[in-house]
């Protein structure tokens, strides 16, 4: 099991972001996108992260987030242990990990 700490923020309701931690199984060579999908499908459907037109091929770059303090594409970054996921810095947050203009 791993702990995935995700920045949650709804500008319409929250004054500032906060972290929410999810526990989930680590599958061999799973990606950050797989982890987010797992959380959305099994633990918390309210989590917002970009995926609706995601290419999964490093081309569109719209799934770009901050993974353990480093920018990375969630579709191609493999998970090896506990994670902290934030939105990309300096972008206006739509909700949680989704930002405007990406």
């Amino acid at each position: 099991m791993i702990k995935v700490r995700v920045a949650r923020f709804d500008p319409a309701v929250d004054s500032s972001p906060h972290y929410q931690t999810y526990e989930m199984p680590l599958e061999p060579r799973m990606t950050v996108m797989d982890a987010l999908d797992y959380i959305y499908e099994n633990l918390d459907p309210s989590l917002a992260y970009h995926s609706h037109t995601s290419c999964h091929r490093r081309i569109c770059a719209r799934c770009n987030v901050t993974i353990n303090n480093k920018a990375g594409l969630s579709c191609h970054t493999e998970v090896n242990g506990d994670l902290t996921i934030d939105p990309l810095p300096r972008f206006k947050v739509v909700r949680d990990l989704v930002v405007e203009g990406l």
Partner: protein, 584 residues
């Protein structure tokens, strides 16, 4: 709902066909808006294409490429008909071969990088194509609306009045009014679990035009790309082994045997390893291998380069320096393969020959509504071998021109407020419902039906089952969907809810068409009807909504020049005779 915006032409879809249509409409002097369910330049299937543009050798010579002048548009036309098993609308092919050289020249003039293959193809990359077209859009300052997931066509009487959808980031229903609408939204591959296509290709606009009363055509025709990576997850869905197999390597069954080479006629093996017939042939052969129990643990086959000499690989690496292709570095995979390993691959939903019915002017059966590119049906009949990139460029430009000309003589349709209100409440009802099914579960259930019953090889029993399940989901489950998340901004449950409705509608059209076509033709293969039957089935299947019910009819194919033989043949027999006819 905010005030509606007004334009002459709306183009829905920001892949190659949509971009090219918007350029054409704008250049003809009408106000044009390009609407994307993602972001123009960062969504759609074009950016992920291999890719090539096909045109005849003489046409290539006309635009200054060293093309073979003994080739001709007539021969290219002939080949596309044979490749399509005669199901093609021949008027659409005439437009394709006629306009291919001009559209190609224009892309070269706009700065597309390319290699001419000496025969009928210009090799390029989807990322570059997309960039060149997006630059042209920006240069013209064409209005773009991003992350607006269009779900419905607004109509006024029998004409078009605009579109409506969900602004995903704002979390609200949004309408845009226009005189005419061009649909250019690609296929509906995402209705399957395993696909090479990007997110967003869920058939939302196929379902929308169907609900608006337009015809869908040959929806049973789905091409699978045979060697798409199953594992590791970071590369899942990638078609790189498919790109490689045209140069080297082979697909193996679980004992390590190259099944296509061992079990099929040499001429079939040859066209499968040297032309885009590879999609149909390898998908069929690989699926048979898996069905007889000789597949890999994850339900595919293996791609191997074990017998390829290292200096041949070094030569190939010059084409893809550092084994980089599109934006991915495959050097780890290539090194692992060079050590003698084989990567698990499987057929993935890849291209739709069927779609919105159009004529050679890109007109649908509704006035003011046009369709271009993969979302339209009929050009490639039952099997595509020629380029889908040429299709998006040719049909995109035609649709843009038809739409612009029509918009000049059409007044803006009145907005039917009650229609808009009905659509809005259809989308927002999910928030008030407490005990219904979740969109997440329903989406999985719907995809499982496609995976099981609408895969490479179909059966009558499976298609009947799929039809019953989808009808039940559409009438019992979709209307009761319950969304738990109350925040409407980027609400993934809401996106899933609107996607699952269109996926189920489009899959139902596909399943019922596949059930009706009691033969095998091209990519549509029925194990209970293995013969291609030109005596009974040189017919198109049309799906339309009549009095709220899905109705299917058939009509004869459109023939202009090449008359089909009235014969019956099996899969391999058909391929061997096609090879002879094509002189390949």
């Amino acid at each position: 709902m905010p005030d509606q915006e007004l334009v002459d032409v709306i183009v829905v879809g920001s892949g190659g066909a949509g971009l090219r249509a918007a350029i054409e409409a704008h250049d003809l002097g009408v106000s044009t808006m390009l609407i994307s369910n993602g972001v123009a330049g960062k969504s759609g299937a074009t950016m992920m294409a291999g890719a090539d543009i096909t045109l005849d050798g003489a046409g290539a010579a006309e635009i200054g490429l060293p093309g073979n002048e003994s080739d001709s548009k007539e021969r290219f036309f002939h080949d596309i008909v044979i490749q399509g098993y005669y199901l093609n609308n021949q008027r659409l092919i005439e437009a394709y071969v006629r306009d291919a050289p001009a559209r190609t020249k224009e892309m070269i003039d706009w700065g597309m990088k390319y290699i001419w293959d000496g025969k009928r193809a210009i090799l390029t990359q989807g990322t570059d194509l997309n960039q060149v077209l997006t630059d042209q859009i920006r240069r013209r300052h064409i209005t773009m609306k991003n992350d607006l997931y269009v779900t419905d066509i607004l109509t006024h009487g029998k004409t078009v009045a605009g579109v409506v959808g969900i602004d995903i980031n704002k979390g609200m229903v949004q309408a845009v009014r226009s005189k005419v609408v061009v649909i250019a939204t690609g296929g509906w591959q995402r209705a399957y679990s395993f696909t090479s296509a990007p997110g967003g290709l869920t058939g939302a606009m196929h379902a929308a035009v169907y609900r608006a009363g337009a015809d869908l055509l040959n929806m049973e025709m789905v091409t699978f790309c045979p060697n798409v990576i199953l594992w590791p997850p970071a590369l899942r869905g990638d078609i790189f082994p498919y790109i490689l197999i045209e140069m080297f390597g082979d697909l193996l069954e679980k004992h390590g045997r190259p099944f296509l080479r061992d079990e099929y006629d040499p001429s079939i093996y040859r066209i499968a390893t040297t032309t885009e017939w590879n999609k149909l042939i390898f998908s069929m052969a690989a699926t048979k291998v898996v069905l007889r129990g000789d597949g890999s643990p994850r339900g595919g086959t293996y791609y191997s380069i074990k017998n390829v000499p290292l200096n041949i690989l070094e030569e190939a690496e010059k084409i893809y320096p550092g084994w980089k292709w599109l934006r991915t570095n495959f050097s780890d995979l290539m090194n692992w393969l060079k050590e003698g390993n084989a990567v698990e691959v499987a057929p993935a939903a890849h291209y739709m020959e069927g779609g919105i019915a159009v004529n050679e002017r890109a007109e649908t059966t509704i006035r003011g509504l046009y369709a271009a590119g993969e979302c339209s049906g009929g050009l490639f009949g039952a099997n595509r071998v020629a380029s889908a990139i040429t299709q998006i460029l040719v049909q995109g430009a035609i649709a843009g021109k038809s739409a612009a000309n029509e918009s000049k003589k059409t007044p803006l349709g009145e907005l039917d407020a009650s229609q808009l209100k009905k659509i809005e409440s259809r989308h927002t009802r999910y928030f008030g419902q407490k005990d219904g099914p979740s969109a997440i579960d329903l989406k999985k259930k719907v995809r499982a039906i496609a995976d099981e019953n609408l895969w490479v090889i179909r059966t009558g029993a499976g298609l009947k089952q799929a039809t019953a399940k989808l009808e039940s989901i559409l009438s019992n489950d979709v209307p009761r969907i319950s969304i738990k998340t109350q925040a409407r901004t980027y609400n993934k449950e809401w996106i899933d809810a609107i996607e699952v409705e269109s996926m189920a509608q489009v899959l139902l059209a596909s399943a019922r068409s596949a059930l009706l076509r009691t033969e095998s033709r091209g990519v549509h293969n029925r194990s209970d009807f293995p013969q291609t039957d030109n005596r009974r089935w040189l017919r198109e299947i049309v799906v339309r909504q009549v009095n709220g019910k899905m109705s299917l009819t058939t009509r004869p194919i459109t023939v202009t020049k090449l008359k089909p033989p009235r014969v019956r043949f099996g899969f391999e027999e058909g391929l061997i005779s096609a090879v002879k006819e094509l002189g390949e």
